[in-house]
């Protein structure tokens, strides 16, 4: 995995992103690079701006200033729909599933498939059967075995099952970048392991993954590089090989600092 700049064009790149909410500063000139086929972990304390940062790339937020690129092309997503059309899928921290709708409808929410032929064209009839079958397949791919029925309303699922639905949705449709904001927070040991396995599978398929997590062992297990966020900025980028968990925690809390020009590399002790 390349950790140097210049040689490869990042899939996603953010420069000097600023995002404020009234007086609250969510992002204060944040940078981000995500390279092709890598898993980039984003870690940081609560309120460090991790979710705000990825929401800019998901189309959920429009940054006040700064520049974003997808494969070297400037992007300015105004909706999550637009980001999805560019192959950027997100599992939001809030999951963004619709409780009253069933599992299949949630997987296809906002990109429903119509029936083929006349009925679909004229009456705009949805291909419910097809979407249900495909949804069941996607969940099986993810190894989700605890869901009873694909036509169950999502609100009747447990927190972990809902999270699984959200993860399956992103994994099923992402074609370039998959962003996961704390995807294992509500998952059991087995389900977490499945998600980590899925992240590695996605990388093997050539996708790039951003993983936000507070779980350091998980991060060190799957990440190629670790982006440390602090106070709305990037504080460092390290690799699991060159930095320890203690280093990362020290950077997160401000006990250790890394100068700007060395943020692509390992931290200096």
């Amino acid at each position: 995995m390349t950790t140097t700049t210049g040689t490869t064009t990042p899939v996603l790149q953010g420069r000097n992103l600023v995002k404020t909410f009234g007086r609250v500063v969510g992002l204060d000139g944040a940078n981000l690079e995500l390279y092709p086929g890598e898993v980039l972990a984003v870690v940081g304390d609560n309120g460090a701006g991790k979710s705000t940062l990825i929401k800019c790339f998901s189309g959920a937020h429009t940054p006040d200033s700064g520049e974003m690129q997808l494969n070297g092309q400037r992007i300015n997503f105004t909706s999550t729909h637009e980001a999805r059309e560019h192959g950027v899928e997100t599992v939001f921290q809030t999951l963004a599933v619709s409780p009253a709708l069933d599992i299949a409808s949630n997987l296809y929410l906002g990109r429903e498939v119509r029936k083929a032929g006349f009925v679909g064209k004229v009456f705009r009839t949805l291909d419910k059967k097809g979407m249900r079958q495909d949804s069941a397949q996607h969940l099986r791919d993810l190894g989700i075995s605890t869901l009873q029925n694909i036509t169950q309303a999502v609100e009747t699922l447990s927190g972990g099952q809902r999270q699984a639905v959200a993860v399956a949705r992103a994994a099923a449709f992402g074609s370039q970048v998959i962003i996961l904001d704390e995807p294992t927070a509500a998952l059991g040991v087995n389900e977490s392991a499945r998600v980590l396995q899925m992240i590695q599978d996605l990388r093997d398929r050539g996708l790039s993954v951003i993983l936000i997590s507070h779980n350091m062992p998980q991060v060190f297990e799957v990440a190629d590089r670790i982006h440390v966020a602090r106070l709305g900025k990037r504080a460092a980028v390290v690799t699991p090989q060159t930095a320890s968990m203690n280093d990362v925690v020290a950077i997160m809390t401000g006990a250790m600092t890394v100068p700007d020009h060395e943020q692509q590399l390992t931290p200096v002790n």
């Binding site: 929410l109 906002g110 029925n149």
Partner: protein
């Protein structure tokens, strides 16, 4: 779930592990129109026992005719409430559409200010329905663009539409004899056996079928539910919540316009003073019908049953010789029970 077959088996097992009450809760959660259906059946049985004329064909025909205006408007109200909105202006908007239609259809009189009046009743109907659509556009615009709560917006437009009707049409009732026949066409009846069915009732049922289909089988329908259920989740799922909400008010305006025409057919004349209970009756029908005022949950079938409950109670009480105050009482109790049941159903968990 390794195959669809085992999936169902697991589900059955899972259902059986719950207490009977939880199972009832689960069934009501899945089929929200069941509780109003039970209420309707029980009411019909009671009123039949009180007076066996209640189930005579002419009385049943009469009940369907009494339901037609509320029933039609309740479709619009259901769409709006599914998005977690509410339309308090629905009665006033219907009157505005209906008066526009009527005044355009009859010949110019001293009090009729519309210049193209009396030309063509078909055009009058179309323009009246167009005014209905415009009321929806105005409500939708204020709610979506200015980000105002539907309750406040429609409370305001309720007054605006009422005033517009009085200003434009000078509080003059257009009487039945001056009204062109086509305007009253929906009020005509045809006979099936001993039942007299109004064309308007057929139109209403047709609209229930069409909108029921749309809500259940199209992306727009799903999005209406999603937007009412959790607007943030819907937005993050790539749905343009503003566009969906706006379109719901416009579509509901279309239904309001059609209801204006229906009202003329049902009553025969067009009065600028709307039925004061019409607004609340549409909301009552929706709520009794099992649709949640919090949005995202409900069915049109339930609303149709709810609309019939209102007229059945009204009609049954008068046949039983009881005061209409009991009707108000019964409806009030039903509304509270319906909301309580909705709260309970919402707590269903796996």
């Amino acid at each position: 779930m390794s195959s669809p077959g085992t999936g169902t088996a697991e589900l059955v097992e899972f259902e059986q592990s719950r207490t009977p009450l939880q199972r009832v809760q689960g069934v009501l959660h899945k089929y929200p129109y069941l509780s109003p259906l039970i209420v309707l059946v029980v009411a019909v049985i009671i009123f039949y026992l009180l007076n066996d004329r209640f189930l005579l064909p002419q009385n049943i025909s009469f009940i369907t005719q009494q339901t037609v205006v509320v029933g039609t408007l309740a479709i619009a109200q259901t769409l709006v409430i599914l998005t977690a909105g509410i339309d308090l202006s629905i009665g006033a908007a219907t009157t505005l559409a209906q008066m526009t239609m009527a005044n355009l259809a009859v010949f110019v009189t001293a009090s009729n200010v519309l210049p193209i009046a009396g030309q063509n009743p078909y055009l009058a109907i179309l323009l009246g329905i167009g005014v209905g659509v415009l009321t929806g556009v105005l409500n939708g615009f204020l709610i979506v663009r200015l980000n105002l709560p539907p309750f406040i917006v429609t409370l305001g437009t309720l007054s605006v539409f009422t005033a517009l009707t009085l200003i434009l049409f000078k509080a003059r009732t257009i009487q039945a004899p001056e009204m062109p026949e086509v305007m009253k066409w929906l009020g005509n009846t045809f006979e099936i056996g001993e039942f007299k069915l109004m064309y308007g009732v057929v139109l209403m049922l047709l609209m229930y079928v069409i909108f029921g289909y749309i809500l259940k089988n199209t992306a727009w329908g799903l999005h209406v539910y999603a937007v009412g259920d959790d607007p943030n989740a819907a937005q993050l799922s790539g749905i343009s919540t503003k566009r969906v909400i706006f379109s719901v008010y416009v579509v509901s305006g279309l239904i309001i316009g059609i209801a204006g025409w229906l009202t003329i057919g049902r009553v025969g004349s067009a009065s600028p003073n709307p039925d004061p209970l019409l607004n609340l009756d549409t909301i009552t029908a929706v709520v009794i019908g099992g649709t949640s005022l919090f949005g995202g949950r409900g069915t049109l079938l339930g609303t149709l049953i709810g609309a019939f409950i209102i007229t059945v109670v009204q009609n049954g009480l008068s046949l039983a010789g009881l005061d209409q105050a009991y009707r108000v009482l019964a409806i009030g109790v039903l509304v509270i029970v319906a909301v309580a049941v909705d709260q309970w159903i919402r707590k269903v968990k796996a």
